[in-house]
């Protein structure tokens, strides 16, 4: 049996796609600059009727959901101890770490007084759902960084090579990294479980967030079980995100796709989607909101699309054995799930929100869209940077040496 081991990718950072992404990122950053100099109103289409736009609906709400791959794979690989999935944990962890970092950044740019972002740390309001989400996300970002640290120590132990006069520090730094690595190895399980608990908490509370909007939210989405629906959808979108990211990475770096592992993963997705669909339909039946589907308007169309494209079609696809033989097929089915959850978060936070005195409806400005796209582009660029410079992606290893770290001074 071949062994899989995470390796740094030997590739140039720059490709035509990367240059395109860089342009998108810079475009977003320019609009961001305008936001910081002339205020939120100068860049966004927000007003007193529409206090939240796509920076909250997409960048934060959908961002948190799509970073769920981190905790679902950790639960599967570490807590359930399914060792065959170990090769996908690191890419999923990196996706989650970058995802949550950008969630935090998006919250910050959307805050009117971004320089007071630390206020919730000392000014508590236990009844505020937003407070709970904020605290959980803040702690979880820390947990993700800690979970990522072993990859950093693995990268540098035995390879510390500081330039110039810092050379003297090579040995102490190396020693520190080894101590750190040993300490982390002993305590990592604490952080892994904490990561899963924190994720369950804030993924669901993100749904509770809109409950307080009450009748301002369309009845198709406004329900007391929103937190459960958010949690279930986050859990069901975690693995599709991992599959998509894995297939694209393989393509981009010319690796053989890990079809077997991905097919095993696909087998878990169908039941998860099924449970989500059951609760979604059940909620609709119990509250009898299906009557709203008989009238044709933005809400009913969006709800139907979300259900059809995001849950029902991919559920059917993941039940077929043909799909599981082709990485592209699995990637497409996964993309539909991702799209469905993205639509669900946009629907919950923007489409369903009908303020009572709105003169017009909200549509994001070019500035808002630019910043959102720019952030996504930046995330992809950072992902590529990490994959090239750190041992993230697993490749088959045929040689036998079983040393964990490179020997200092030895060949690379």
């Amino acid at each position: 049996m071949e062994n899989m081991k995470p390796k740094m990718m030997q590739k140039n950072f720059f490709t035509p796609t990367v240059i395109g992404l860089t342009i998108l990122a810079i475009n977003g950053l320019i609009f961001l600059l305008i936001r910081f100099v002339w205020g939120i109103g100068a860049v966004t289409n927000l007003d007193n009727q529409h206090p939240w736009g796509i920076w909250i609906g997409i960048d934060v709400a959908a961002g948190v959901a799509l970073a769920a791959g981190g905790f679902t794979t950790a639960a599967l690989g570490h807590i359930m101890h399914k060792d065959q999935y170990h090769s996908i944990i690191r890419p999923a962890l990196l996706t989650a770490m970058l995802g949550y970092t950008f969630v935090a950044l998006s919250v910050m740019i959307d805050l009117g007084r971004y320089y007071y972002i630390w206020h919730p740390l000392i000014m508590w309001n236990g009844s505020s759902v937003l407070f709970e989400v904020g605290m959980c996300v803040m702690i979880y970002v820390m947990v993700l960084y800690i979970e990522f640290l072993p990859i950093v120590t693995e990268r540098f132990i035995g390879r510390v090579n500081l330039p110039g006069f810092l050379k003297k520090l090579n040995k102490p730094v190396d020693k520190f990294l080894r101590v750190l690595d040993r300490g982390l190895e002993k305590t990592m399980f604490v952080f892994i479980i904490a990561g899963v608990v924190l994720s369950c908490l804030h993924q669901s509370s993100l749904g509770t967030l809109m409950v307080i909007a009450g009748p301002k939210m369309h009845p198709l989405w406004q329900t007391p079980v929103l937190p459960l629906l958010f949690l279930l959808s986050a859990i069901s979108v975690g693995f599709p995100m991992v599959i998509m990211e894995s297939v694209i990475t393989s393509k981009s770096f010319g690796l053989k796709p890990e079809t077997n592992i991905l097919a095993d993963l696909s087998n878990i997705i169908a039941p998860l989607l099924g449970v989500y669909l059951a609760f979604k339909i059940g909620d609709m039946v119990i509250r009898q909101t299906f009557t709203y589907l008989t009238e044709i308007n933005t809400s009913s169309v969006m709800f139907t699309l979300e259900l059809l494209i995001g849950i029902i079609i991919p559920l059917r696809l993941f039940l077929s054995n043909e799909i599981k033989k082709s990485p592209t097929g699995m990637a497409i089915a996964s993309f539909l799930v991702v799209l469905g959850v993205l639509m669900n978060r946009i629907n919950n936070f923007l489409v369903a929100y009908n303020p009572p005195y709105a003169q017009h409806s909200y549509f994001p400005s070019i500035g808002e869209i630019s910043v959102t796209i720019g952030f996504v582009a930046l995330e992809i660029l950072l992902f590529r940077f990490f994959v090239i410079n750190f041992p993230i992606v697993s490749v088959p290893v045929y040689s036998t040496p079983q040393t964990k770290f490179a020997i200092r001074g030895g060949s690379k």
Partner: protein
């Protein structure tokens, strides 16, 4: 990665559990307010209001907002469109047609209702809102981080935000003239200036009694309802009208407090931190069992 010994596992888990338990005994202190029986309120009789908009002027002056001279407020052409309070005007008057006579249109003053169970107070991430003893719902500039969740939460869509400001944008809403006037026993600026006494400041309970009396005495003049008596758990501002409140652009709201469901869910998930700690313990247990299973299998393989 996870080859720590069983003893390590137990040691660390005990540590974590005790740390979490220690934490939550401290974190119960959420800011709770007591609703005073003597809290004040304002009764707006929309059948008396003449739409002179002097209250708009007085409010701006009292809150240091830029304003045109007082005589420009006589211009009635602003009633052509419905206006909402915003960051430049904390109260506005809108005009609606009277079904019985064109001579006396219905004028409705709009501002923060100062709910008894405010959604903004429940929602605010840093607890920047407070409900004072005299009924005022007050926003604290020193805490606010500008997240605008209060605007999402408010059932009356009242809080406004200074979108144009890059630094220190405020949430703007009627503050019941708390700091400079009502706290010191004075009248709110709008009540003080009203030339026809369409708005009355007083103990909320007394105002409700007075309003009931009015409805009883003039059953043809009023619809039999005091808006704000029960809506979203009661508000400090109360309204009387000759026409269905929904036709005067009042929102259709139930009697349950606006933050009710969301707080119930929130406190259900966080009941003394029991559910999160239980989930932590459960996952730890599953992890331990699976780990032992794996190591036994490996021993058998050897």
């Amino acid at each position: 990665m996870l080859n720590q010994s069983r003893r390590d596992f137990l040691k660390t888990s005990t540590l974590i559990t005790s740390a979490t338990l220690g934490l939550n005994s401290k974190s119960k202190a959420a800011s709770k307010y007591v609703l005073s029986e003597d809290r004040m309120g304002v009764l707006v009789d929309t059948t008396v209001c003449i739409g002179c908009r002097k209250c708009e002027w007085a409010c701006k002056v009292a809150h240091n907002l830029p304003t045109e001279p007082i005589d420009t407020y006589d211009d009635r052409s602003v009633f052509k469109e419905k206006r909402r309070p915003n960051d430049k005007a904390l109260t506005v008057v809108n005009e609606y047609p009277n079904d019985f006579t064109d001579k006396f249109p219905i004028d409705v003053k709009v501002q923060c209702m100062h709910c008894d169970k405010p959604a903004c107070l429940s929602a605010c991430i840093v607890g920047a809102f407070s409900k004072h003893e005299n009924g005022a719902v007050f926003w604290d500039s020193t805490k606010c981080i500008g997240c605008r969740y209060c605007m999402v939460a408010c059932p009356f869509q009242i809080p406004a935000f200074e979108f144009e400001k890059a630094l220190k944008p405020d949430i703007k809403k009627c503050d019941f003239c708390y700091k400079d006037r009502t706290f010191k026993g004075k009248l709110p600026a709008c009540v003080e200036i009203c030339p026809v006494e369409a708005i009355t400041y007083g103990r909320r309970e007394d105002l409700i009694k007075a309003a009931r009396e009015k409805i009883k005495m003039y059953p043809n003049r009023y619809v039999n309802r005091i808006f704000g008596e029960y809506e979203v758990g009661g508000t400090s501002w109360l309204y009387l009208a000759s026409k269905d409140f929904e036709k005067l652009d009042f929102p259709k709201l139930g009697k349950d407090p606006a933050p009710g469901v969301s707080e119930a869910i929130q406190h259900g998930i966080f009941a003394y931190f029991v559910p999160p700690v239980a989930l932590y313990a459960l996952l730890g247990g599953i992890m331990w069992i699976n780990k032992n299973k794996k190591s036994k299998e490996q021993e058998q393989d050897k």
